[in-house]
Structures are given as structure tokens and as C-alpha cells.
């Protein structure tokens, strides 16, 4: 087991609200000059969950699995909710019919209308059926400041201790062999470059070019992907030989430069992350999430 500083991490409460689904107020223009009414960006999506396929949802565009919430009130409160939450953190419903139920943070999404963000959460179906837009949720956030003690060149971004423990990362010859579902070439990586900090928002795998669509066809929500030549230290950008590992958190898009969203978990420019490709790797199995 990779040595971490998990015992030195603060555990704090972050409060947010379940969002409305984020759709633009009108038709949008697709990459190939068609008008489209899109749906599936957050809020409560009853019938898509982590582990399900990214493709195949009618008019779905950047579909998010499960339930999304954002920080409310001032920028400080919003920033905390977006930047300090971690994949694998537990989240409790504080109001409404599902009060007292627990779920799990599974990823983060940005680039939404009105500069809003989504922290995406998994709940059991019986909980989702009782949730309402506007319900208050509170995350027990632990993970900001997370480090792999013997690998100072590896940025650990928005990873809970539970995720690191369940991941199955192996140490061999001074390198971390990280289980991933797929390795994604830099050519396909689009929106997300230039964004900061990597703790909030996401990268996108662009899904317009036919070769990219073919490559992405079998991806599922919750798959763990390695993005080649990308660095996510103090922002997101190109760096030859660097890697970013993240979790698939949105479906594909028909809008140019957009696509399958990837929420950052690890990044390294010094060659200490080696992908161990296994098509069965998925967050649902790693965190034992039940539908």
C-alpha cells in the first residue's frame, strides 16, 4: 500500500444544494451546424448511474450520472464546496424526504451555464426517488492536501483516503502502477486546458471526430482514464510526457471541443505513474457503490 499522509488531513463539512438540471435557454449549435436541445447535465438524473455506458442517451449532452449539487451563498462557500470535496467522500442529505440518507461523491464538473459547477454524487435508487431539487447536502470532506509520501512529484487531486485504499495502486521499482480502464491520446483531450485549479471542474475527451468517437464508444461513467501529455498541478495544460489520471464523470457531447468529462485524481510529469490497463476498472466496483 502506497504510504500517504492521510492521518494529517483535516476532515471538514461542506454544504451545498441539489441543483436544477443545467440546460441552456434555447437550442444550441452542434459542431456540424445542427440545432440541438440537450439534456442530462446534472440535477437529478433518475436512470443513469456510475457504471452505466456514456453513449446511447437520446439528446444527452454531457450527461452526468446520478445527482449533482453545487455550493450556495457567497464565492467562499461555493469555492470550498467545489475545491475541497473529494471523490469517495461520504455525503449526507440534510433536508427533505431523504433526510439522513448517505451517498458518495463520484466526480466534479465545470464549464456549466452561468459559471456554476457540479459536484456529482451517487445515491441508491430508493434515496434518489425521494430527493428534491434544492435539498441540502453535506459532504464530510477529507482529501485536500493528500500526498503520496514517497512520490512528491505526484499530485493527488480530490482523492479521498477511501479511494486511494480501494484503488489497488502497486509500487514497483520506484513507480506507481495505477489501474486504469483506458489510456487516452492527447489529440483527443479538449476543454479543460487553461482551467484552474485542477481540484474543481474537469477535462473533456472531445467526441466529434469519428476516430475519437470510435475510441470512446465503450466508456462508462466511473471508468478511470489516463490522459497522455497533460499536466494538472496548478492548472490544466499540455506537457509532453506528463500524465493526468481521472474518473469519467460526463457523457459525450455534440458541441465542438466538448465530450466525455474527466474529473482529475492524479497527475505527474516525472514518469512515476505507469498505467495498468484493465477494462473492468470502474469507480462503482472500487467503492462498492450499490444501485
Amino acid at each position: 500500500m502506497v504510504k500517504t499522509n492521510k492521518d494529517n488531513l483535516l476532515e471538514i463539512a461542506l454544504q451545498g444544494e441539489i441543483t436544477h438540471t443545467a440546460i441552456p435557454s434555447t437550442y444550441t449549435t452542434t459542431w456540424d451546424n445542427r440545432s440541438q436541445m440537450s439534456l442530462g447535465r446534472g440535477g437529478i438524473v433518475y436512470n443513469v448511474k456510475v457504471g452505466d455506458p456514456c453513449y446511447g442517451w437520446e439528446l444527452g449532452d454531457n450527461v452526468e450520472p446520478g445527482v449533482s449539487a453545487d455550493g450556495t451563498d457567497n464565492d467562499r462557500a461555493k469555492g470550498g464546496f467545489r475545491n475541497l470535496s473529494n471523490v469517495g467522500n461520504r455525503v449526507k442529505v440534510l433536508s427533505g424526504e431523504a433526510k439522513g440518507s448517505w451517498g458518495t461523491v463520484i466526480g466534479k464538473v465545470g464549464y456549466l451555464p452561468d459559471r456554476s459547477h457540479h459536484v456529482v454524487m451517487h445515491f441508491k435508487q430508493e434515496v434518489i426517488d425521494d430527493l428534491t431539487v434544492g435539498d441540502k447536502v453535506q459532504i464530510r470532506a477529507k482529501g485536500a492536501g493528500h500526498k503520496f509520501l514517497d512520490y512528491p512529484g505526484v499530485a493527488v487531486v480530490s482523492c479521498s483516503p477511501e479511494l486511494v485504499e480501494a484503488w489497488g495502486i502497486e509500487e514497483k521499482g520506484g513507480k506507481l502502477h495505477v489501474p486504469v480502464t483506458k489510456v487516452v491520446p492527447m489529440d483527443y483531450v479538449g476543454q479543460g486546458a487553461g482551467g484552474s485549479p485542477p481540484q474543481a471542474s474537469n477535462w473533456d475527451i472531445q467526441t466529434q471526430s469519428p476516430d475519437a468517437v470510435e475510441f470512446c464508444r465503450d466508456l462508462r461513467f466511473g471508468d478511470i482514464v489516463l490522459l497522455e501529455d497533460t499536466l494538472s498541478y496548478y492548472g490544466r495544460g499540455y506537457y509532453h510526457g506528463a500524465v493526468t489520471v481521472g474518473v469519467v464523470i460526463t457523457g459525450p457531447s455534440n458541441h465542438m471541443g466538448h465530450g466525455i468529462g474527466v474529473s482529475t485524481l492524479l497527475s505527474c510529469k516525472e514518469g512515476q505513474i505507469v498505467p495498468k490497463v484493465d477494462p473492468d476498472v470502474n469507480l462503482k466496483r472500487m467503492l462498492e457503490l450499490e444501485d
Partner: protein, 292 residues
């Protein structure tokens, strides 16, 4: 053979902007975590013109040549007519202040906020922040006859006709300064379904890559080819597509950022071929300087 266009069918109309103060946002981390106080966005730059180098300005980040104006009639500058309709090479005219009625040229748009205008040096000396600038917007809807499938963007008839483009069979031959691999394109990808109001950045935050592709030699106004990039409705990757663009702002040390490109021509179907010409620059094509 030279190109023919539909320029006689284009509406020409007035759009309005105002000279804005210089931007300043305090210290922010560079790609490798060094705090940096940046300058060069917004305002009046007395000593930076289209045709100057993108790289090398002290504390410069996203430096914008000449004078920066913004539309004011909507909550966001990107929603204003100036942002959507002004085209590179359009005539600009001061409508207030000490330099009232003096003329300049629209030279590009920096995503999010800033519209860029060149004025002669003697005019710049007289300018004040807040002066109003009106641009004769002319170019939206521009098409090249026989190449209607090639997307023309942000390009005045004057610029398009002066870019030295020749027709060779079913291809346009376009002079460029450099070829940029598509994977270097960063901030701005996916940011809008409209191409008109934005640029996107050639990422300059990997020192070895900057040297490999000679990125420090790029100049403001240079015409470049973006390989495997499609900019018809938005900006992004499409294998085999080609986009010709011009550099409108300078270097950056922020992750995912770098010299910004306004797309001018884009094709999905191999309708463009390029030739290298180190002098392919909007400042020369628009007669803004004679030393390039």
C-alpha cells in the same frame, strides 16, 4: 488564380466599444506554481504593436497589442455586437476625446473580454481610457466563390484579399508562418459554439515543446496553420481538418494558456494547402507597418 468573394453582398454596419483600463488581478500561480503578477491585457499599450514578438515581455501574460476596447451594451463584452461582428481589417474611428475622428484598424478579439484596435503612434499619444471607438463591421457572411464549404471567420474582405491566397484546382493555397500541431491548442477549446467572439491558445507551458516548435519566434499578427483543428461551430479536434488563424495576443505562463489565435479559415475536407512565408502577418497585409 486569385480568389473571388461575395463581398458586394455583405452588410456594413456600426459597432461600438470603449477603451478599457489595463487589467490587473494580483498574483496568480504559473503552470509550475510560481506566483506571478501579470500585465499587458486591457488598456493602452504605448510600446506594443501588431507584428511585435509574442514572447519576452517582462511580467507580460496574454499581452494585447495596441488599444483594447470593449462593447458595453450588454452585461458581458462577449455578447456585444462589437465582439460578434467586427472583423480583422475593419476601419475603426474614435468618436470622442482628443483624437476624435482619427482612424485605426480592428486587429482581433481576445476571448472573454477584449477587442483589439491598432492606431497610429501619434493617435495613441492622445488617447484616454474611456474614449469611444466605432468600428465599421464588415465581413460576417463572407464566402470564397467555389469554396463555400470553407468557413471564413472574423476576416474582413480587405484582409482576405491581401493574404496572398491563390486558387490551385480545388484548393486554396495560403501563406503561413508556422504549422502548429493541434494537440498544442488549449484554453478556448469548447468554450463557445460561436467562433466569432473568441480566440484559443497555443499552449506555451512546456519549455521543451516551446523550443521544439520554435514558439518563441511567433509574432503578434502571424498567420499560422492549426493542424487537425476544426473551427466552424466552436473550436476543437477533428482529424484531418485544418484551421488558418492569426495570433492576437501573446505568451502565457498559466497552465493551458499561450499565444491566442483567432480562426480565419477552417476546412474539414482538405480544401486548404499551405506554403511557408515568414512574413505572413496581418500587420503587413493591412499596411500597419513596413518593417516586416
Amino acid at each position: 488564380m486569385m480568389i473571388e468573394t461575395n463581398k458586394d453582398k455583405l452588410l456594413k454596419l456600426a459597432v461600438m466599444g470603449e477603451i478599457v483600463p489595463s487589467g490587473s488581478s494580483g498574483y496568480r500561480p504559473t503552470w509550475n506554481g510560481v506566483p506571478k503578477m501579470s500585465l499587458g491585457m486591457g488598456g493602452i499599450k504605448y510600446n506594443l504593436r501588431v507584428g511585435d514578438l509574442c514572447y519576452g515581455w517582462a511580467s507580460g501574460d496574454h499581452v494585447e497589442p495596441g488599444v483594447t476596447i470593449r462593447g458595453k451594451e450588454k452585461p458581458s463584452p462577449s455578447q456585444c455586437a462589437l465582439a460578434l461582428l467586427a472583423c480583422i481589417g475593419n476601419e475603426a474611428r474614435l468618436t470622442s476625446g482628443e483624437a476624435k475622428n482619427e482612424k485605426g484598424v480592428f486587429t482581433g478579439r481576445h476571448a472573454g473580454s477584449d477587442d483589439l484596435v491598432w492606431f497610429p503612434e501619434e493617435t495613441i499619444e492622445k488617447l484616454a481610457i474611456g474614449d469611444k471607438v466605432q468600428v465599421k463591421a464588415h465581413g460576417v457572411g463572407l464566402k470564397i466563390k467555389g469554396f463555400e464549404d470553407v468557413r471564413v471567420n472574423k476576416c474582413s474582405p480587405r484582409l482576405l484579399e491581401n493574404m496572398g491566397i491563390e486558387v490551385d484546382g480545388d484548393q486554396l493555397v495560403v501563406p503561413i508562418v508556422a504549422e502548429i500541431p493541434g494537440f498544442l491548442m488549449g484554453s478556448g477549446i469548447g468554450s463557445s459554439q460561436n467562433v466569432e467572439p473568441g480566440d484559443y491558445d497555443i499552449q506555451t507551458t512546456d519549455p521543451a515543446t516551446n523550443e521544439k516548435y520554435g514558439l518563441k519566434k511567433l509574432r503578434l499578427g502571424d498567420i499560422v496553420l492549426l493542424q487537425d483543428q476544426l473551427c466552424m461551430n466552436g473550436r476543437g479536434y477533428y482529424k484531418g481538418a485544418m484551421t488558418i488563424g492569426t495570433i492576437i495576443h501573446g505568451w502565457s505562463d498559466s497552465a493551458g494558456h499561450g499565444p491566442g489565435v483567432n480562426p480565419l479559415l477552417s476546412t474539414i475536407g482538405g480544401r486548404i494547402r499551405t506554403v511557408i512565408d515568414p512574413r505572413a502577418n496581418t500587420a503587413r497585409y493591412l499596411g500597419l507597418r513596413d518593417d516586416l
